[in-house]
């Protein structure tokens, strides 16, 4: 990239606020950030290269490990892509259980993102409250799937385990507790005057810029693009009557509030699933065959796309994964950070876009 000024301040790769390594070189004029350049390569494992030529049974676990935070959606999109190739039907109970697990995963991911933001602006109390709620969500996830992270719950033609009746009751009871706490913390965040000073009108992403950088997920929806939600095109979500929410401000505050709103929305979706959960089998079975497909789903961070080509034995011939973080971090670094008034706002703006370097580089 061309140098515009002579002072370039690197932030990272090891930074107290960042959970993962990335290096943002900010070109500054005084404290004013003119542009930012990102240096990656700290997390490049070459997953797509490993996946090629391997049977789907193996790639399924690799797909989950593209991102540990949103592992359920990677599992779901990969398996649904395979189901799309070979037209494997899914029992209705299994489809709803998938939604329940996926929404629980979205909740814990959003809570973690908001925790990171509160931690970055040094509001440690709220951050720790949020981390405590997250443990409750993780408990539910563990009770249903058997693992906290990378649970490999979704398999072609269904899910691994059924939801027992007593677990469903516990899930309902816990959801009520989580909802109460999230509403309380949303109020704390919304009305905190110090939080507003650090968040409002900082790191603004306009709708035009969001479209140009192809921003997705809560980042795009905070800039007024509700149509970017891929859940609108998913048959199970359509059946549940899902309507996305959006905000117009496009600043750090809007992005965090967006995630709080989506957590409440996820709770409502899980309740609706539990209400309409029919009795029946959860594993229909099915063997993936040859074909090619481009399939997208809504990850906690936005649109996740898999482009897969398989052969008759179910081996992955070619695969390309487009993760939401790629677009969101790009929108953050090349549009939001431009014109940030102070270098101190760089980490918080970066964290507000919920960056996941492991997805970005794969």
């Amino acid at each position: 990239m061309k140098r515009t000024v002579d002072v370039s301040i690197p932030v990272g790769p090891i930074h107290p606020c960042w959970k993962e390594p990335a290096r943002v070189k900010c070109e500054t004029k005084g404290e004013f950030v003119l542009s930012a350049e990102v240096e990656l390569g700290y997390m490049k494992k070459g997953i797509e290269r490993i996946m090629r030529g391997r049977p789907w049974q193996e790639v399924m676990f690799l797909a989950e490990r593209v991102c540990g935070i949103c592992s359920v959606i990677h599992n779901m999109v990969f398996i649904e892509a395979l189901e799309g190739i070979s037209s494997i039907p899914v029992p209705e109970r299994a489809a709803l259980l998938r939604v329940i697990v996926n929404e629980l995963d979205r909740m814990q991911s959003h809570i973690l993102a908001n925790f990171s933001y509160c931690y970055t602006i040094e509001h440690e109390t709220l951050a720790m409250y949020l981390l405590d709620v997250r443990e409750k969500v993780m408990d539910e996830l563990e009770r249903i799937t058997g693992a906290r992270v990378t649970c490999a719950y979704i398999v072609p033609g269904g899910v691994r385990f059924d939801l027992r009746h007593e677990d469903a009751l516990r899930l309902r009871a816990n959801l009520a507790a989580i909802e109460d706490e999230i509403i309380r913390y949303t109020g704390m965040f919304e009305n905190g005057p110090m939080i507003a000073l650090r968040s409002k009108r900082i790191g603004i992403l306009t709708k035009e810029d969001a479209r140009e950088a192809c921003a997705v997920g809560p980042t795009a929806r905070a800039s007024g693009m509700p149509e970017s939600d891929r859940r609108l095109y998913h048959p199970t979500y359509q059946k549940l009557g899902f309507v996305p929410v959006s905000r117009e401000e496009g600043d750090n505050f809007a992005r965090i509030m967006m995630r709080f709103q989506e957590i409440l929305q996820s709770i409502a979706l899980i309740r609706r699933c539990l209400d309409t959960l029919p009795e029946g089998p959860v594993r229909g079975g099915g063997i993936p065959g040859a074909g090619e497909i481009a399939y997208s789903g809504e990850a906690p961070r936005g649109e996740l796309s898999y482009f897969i080509r398989t052969d008759a034995a179910g081996r992955i011939v070619d695969i390309a994964i487009q993760t939401p973080s790629i677009m969101n971090i790009e929108a953050c670094c090349h549009y939001m950070l431009k014109g940030v008034a102070s270098l101190a706002d760089v980490p918080s703006t970066f964290v507000s876009s919920d960056p996941c370097i492991a997805c970005t580089e794969r």
Partner: protein, 129 residues
Amino acid sequence: MSGYLYEKDLTSMKYDILTSTRHDRMVREIAADIGIPQIKLRRYIMERFDMLLMENLPARYEEGKRQMAYASETERDLRAHLYSRAIPLVTEDEMDRIVTRVKELMESGMPREEAVLAGKNLFRGSILK
């Protein structure tokens, strides 16, 4: 102090990004469209773009192609938006200059196809420069 600044040669890592399936397809399409060798386009991209922009290229390319429908006819033929905003191969000023030049040529009586061809040659020249 240079030990603490750790600037590093990123060429091989950038090449890894640019040779994945979708990036490779995109580079081939652009190279065929502009009419320059792929290897030259790859080197040009690696020299000018940072790694995050490179990761995002396929998504931006698709979106840029979608946005082409809203551009004027001359700009669509030159793919002005695609090559200056979505994939910033040249700066917007440079692209504006090329578009203005093509429009001038057309006003001076040159047939449309020839003028666009001349514009594409200008564009290729500014990349190979």
